[in-house]
């Protein structure tokens, strides 16, 4: 399989999965670029795999989580810089808002709230929830992608649901 074929077969998968993590078109494009650069670099080892989908899922998840971590670091650094150099305009955290092209306007507000809470979940709970509830993957598939057993995936999804429901309830109470 050539790089172009791999790209054409998986571009939407990568772009949409990245979107579920960052909920922003520009950021998702950046993640997708990074994912395919990695795919290109490891193309030789990749050719032997019968179905590269699971591997691409893994790369996308890792790149998305790395991207979010880098953004958080950038945010902290920007805050520190603003403390020491209040007039400095050079380093500023580039805050991008909620801009998910797959969400219709009528549902934007409620989904933005749910994503706000999903984003606060621990990384593995967030991944399990996204794969299960948005990507519609079975627990077996999630277990393969996350290199876990099915029981662990089940527990992750359950814990994610409970804490999400709690936070949503709290939010409704406010």
């Amino acid at each position: 399989m050539t790089f172009e074929e791999l790209y054409n077969n998986h571009k939407n998968l990568v772009f949409n999965l990245a979107l579920q993590y960052v909920q922003n078109t520009e950021d998702a494009q950046e993640i997708a670029q990074d994912v395919f650069v990695v795919v290109h670099q490891t193309l030789a080892s990749f050719r032997n795999e019968a179905d590269p989908k699971t591997w691409i899922y893994r790369v996308t998840i890792n790149k998305s989580l790395d991207f979010i971590k880098a953004k958080k670091r950038q945010k902290r650094f920007g805050f520190l810089t603003s403390l020491f150099y209040p007039d400095s305009n050079e380093i500023k955290y580039d805050q991008k808002g909620f801009d998910h092209p797959g969400i219709e306007i009528e549902q934007k507000e409620s989904l933005e709230l749910i994503f706000k809470h999903i984003n606060n979940l621990p990384e593995n709970q967030k991944t399990a929830l996204i794969l299960s509830k948005i990507e519609d993957k079975s627990q077996k598939e999630i277990a393969d992608i996350m290199k876990l057993n099915v029981k662990a995936v089940e527990s992750l999804i359950q814990r994610a649901k409970v804490s999400l429901a709690k936070n949503l309830e709290k939010n409704e109470g406010k």
Partner: protein, 85 residues
């Protein structure tokens, strides 16, 4: 509780933008160029270090010989083991 999550199923799949492939290719090419220039820089610096080491070694060995010769000359000694000229 499940109802809260059902709304997540309404998220639609979107197509990746067409320009993404061009951007990826240019990113890959940039990385290759950086890799090549890094390789060239490393080989240049290694060869420079080797040249400097060779120069220093040659200079040091020459200066040692000169010192030895100067001392022998000053003491009117012969540089070999012959007692008489």
């Amino acid at each position: 509780m499940e109802n809260d999550f059902d709304i997540l199923k309404n998220i639609k799949l979107v197509n990746a933008p067409d320009f993404l492939f061009t951007r990826i290719i240019s990113k890959i090419e940039n990385r290759l160029a950086i890799k090549i220039s890094k390789g060239a820089a490393i080989s240049w610096s290694v060869s420079l270090v080797i040249v400097v080491i060779v120069n220093v070694t040659v200079l040091l060995s020459q200066s040692q010989t000169t010192k030895q010769e100067t001392m022998i000359e000053s003491m009117n000694l012969l540089p070999d083991n012959n007692l008489y000229e």
